[in-house]
Amino acid sequence: MQKKFFLLCMVLVALMAFGTAAVAQDDVTLLWGMWGDPAEIATHQLVADAYMAANPNVTIELWSQPWGEYFTKIDTLFVAGDATVIPDVFFMTPIQDRAAAGVLQDLTALIEESGLDLEDYWPGALESTSYEGVVYGFPRDIGIEVLYYNKDHFDAASLDYPTDEWTWVELRAAAEALTVKEASGRISRYGFAMEGGKYFDFVGANGGLILDDMFNPTQCTLSQPEAVEAFEFFAGMMNDEIAWRSANLGQAGGDLSVFLGEQASMFIQNASRVPALNAAGVNYDVAAVPTAPGGTRQAGIANGAAWVMSSVTDTPDAAWDFMQFLQSPEGGQAIYFATGEAFPPTRSGAESPVFMNPERGPENKQAWIVGAESANINGFGWFPEYNELNGTLINPVLDTIWAGEAQAADVLPGVCESVDAYLVEHGYGA
């Protein structure tokens, strides 16, 4: 009797050991970090639910913060070093400083193992998520911009709609024709609205650059003729009162608000405005960002917030599988791009029926693909000191150009002097 009982106990213990071992091997919990407002978090939750439905042994826990606090909180988590509370996969932009600090996982080995086709990504997209030639993340979407326009305003003024072949000449002519000026001199509707911060759409199209190399700059190139011409074009539209002044635009609620309030007829922005415009039932369409008279186009910067993996994750394979799901046109992309609020980072994603859905506005979604063909990431400085350089030396002076208090040709040489001095001080100069 006792011997049998003893044998039974041994069998039971063995079973339990195997059972727990088997369960412990497969059950994974991934912590997934992102920023966003409640509506965006709800979309992320849908993606997590879809993945969990397809992979019952994986639990995805969302870790979300408002955008303003997200970066500080992630940084403090890494400083504290407790791997159990650091998200395994999370949103990050830009990634260079954090890659340099060693908190992000090098994805080269995982990419090779899974045979991922990196050529599917638009030019420049992966450059922004790489550091020293190594890929650290994949952009969820990229900020390619288009020209939004109000078809009713164009009809009322008997103007032809913008086409994907427009240049600055046509843009300016349309802005002039669409601006409505009252007898007192007040402008009740501007033809064109664009944030001053997007000036590189004009500078880049004209062949100009902010710094000679946006990864390892040696000098400032804003005072070169191509750049100055572009500034004079953009600021000229503001000074001639056919485009919103940048500061007023931002303080009045941004391009979407003034477009919805019929105080602007055209604006340049990325895909994020699409859901609100569709919901409001505005009669609008989009066209590719106008090229410079010479023919090149700069439709925004080909970067976007990227999904990265923490370097201290204890489940890299599970995290990688989840990352691939996020980027696949049938997986995460099918949910993220359903509302049209973002543009896919891959060609396959952009041409998929999810993004190109003919039943969802705007009609000319091809405009994004036209813009993405010439994508690059030259509008942003990919080195740690760029924020300070931009925020103290470049932008405050550009603000005076947008406000009409200074002329581009007069102040840009001074900007370049101070930028060059800063670069030398911080070890970047020639």
Binding site: D75, R98, S184, V258, Q263, E388, T392, D399
Partner: protein
């Protein structure tokens, strides 16, 4: 009965506790623990929780920030000792710090007197025994308790050069003026009216050292927001002025203005001193008002309206330069410290404390 001017302990000769041990006698002679010299230990024990909180959450961070101001730290990599480099950079190599100091100086110079004077005027007006006193008091105090971010956003829309109501008012005035016959008759007048346009209330910097529209708009908003507090504090102080003094002044033939100048103002001067110091501290540390009203991006300095604390925030969280941000905050501390010392020294001249 007699009003005690200050709360000092009663003279020891009146109430000496029984001193039993030698230790107690020494403690008593040294002025420590007059009452229960044998329960000092328990006393400190009761103080300990509060003391620990203060040490951990107030004193330690202050000392750490002082140490941090001599380092360079971007949160991701360990701090690096750089000596006084942050301080020298601020005073010799920072393109923006001068504008920041100018803005903060003007904010303090404009906001504090306006708030004090307006608050005092309102308090005197409401002290005349109006029937609807409570309603007026509530109306003037409501901005104080309103959410600062919501209020600043409303004022941002109000002051917008293109789409704001004030700008619209300027345009309508211009239309009105253009319609007047005597304006149309004179070409000079017509010219100058034609040139009327609303200024950039939220973004225009001033010429040289002068304050610009941006500073004035933020000042107007801050005064609107806080004058209710000043008013309420003054109302309490006015209640404490004894009526017999007014009667005596009337008997002596003093007019309303003279009563105000020679009775009211001196007797509320302690309150004025308190409000002056507290509001100066607040004005030097102005952050939410300019930050929300002007709404510049996190990483870009808005030269026309950037205050010291805004610049600290940008350096810390926009540019990831914690050491420099700590250095700026210690410079702010030094400025505020000096100003407060000066005010405390000057108070003997103009603050009349009541001593009965």
């Amino acid at each position: 009965m007699e009003k005690a001017a200050l709360s000092s302990p009663p003279p020891p000769t009146l109430m000496t506790p029984p001193l039993r041990s030698f230790r107690q006698k020494i403690a008593f002679r040294l002025g420590m623990g007059v009452w229960r010299a044998d329960q000092q230990f328990e006393g400190y024990l009761f103080l300990l929780p509060s003391l620990i909180g203060f040490l951990l959450f107030v004193l330690a961070p202050i000392l750490i920030s002082l140490a941090l101001s001599f380092h360079e730290w971007d949160l991701l990599t360990p701090p690096e000792y750089v000596g006084a480099a942050n301080y020298t950079e601020l005073f010799t190599n920072d393109p923006v710090f001068g504008a920041v100091l100018k803005n903060t100086f003007w904010y303090t110079l404009l906001i504090v007197p306006l708030q004090l004077v307006l608050g005092f005027v309102l308090a005197v007006a409401l002290n005349t025994g109006l029937r609807a006193l409570r309603w007026y008091r509530m109306l003037y105090f409501m901005p104080v308790i309103a959410s600062i971010v919501a209020a600043a956003m409303v004022f941002r829309f109000l002051f917008n050069q293109q789409s704001g109501i004030i700008a619209a008012g300027v345009w309508q005035t211009k239309e009105l003026l253009l319609g007047l016959p005597f304006v149309q008759a004179s070409p000079q007048l017509l010219d100058s009216v034609q040139g009327l346009a609303p200024p950039d209330f939220l973004n225009a910097p001033g010429q040289g050292f002068l304050p610009g529209w941006a500073i004035i708009s933020v000042t107007l908003f801050t005064v609107w927001k806080n004058v209710g507090f000043t008013m309420v504090v003054y109302m309490a102080a006015l209640q404490a002025v004894p009526d017999p003094l007014y009667d005596a002044a009337k008997v002596d033939g003093a007019s309303g203005w003279q009563r105000l100048r020679y009775v009211t103002i001196p007797l509320v001067s302690p309150t004025t001193f308190f409000l002056l110091v507290v509001q100066m501290l607040g004005a030097f540390q102005l952050f939410a008002e300019p930050f929300v009203m002007v709404a510049s991006s996190q990483n870009s300095v808005a030269l026309a309206s950037e205050s010291l604390v805004m610049y600290i925030y940008r350096n810390a969280f926009g540019f990831l330069r914690m050491g420099k941000a700590a250095a700026i905050s210690w410079i702010l501390f030094a400025i505020v410290f000096v100003v407060t010392i000066v005010q405390t020294l000057l108070q003997r001249r103009w603050v009349h404390y009541q001593v009965d």
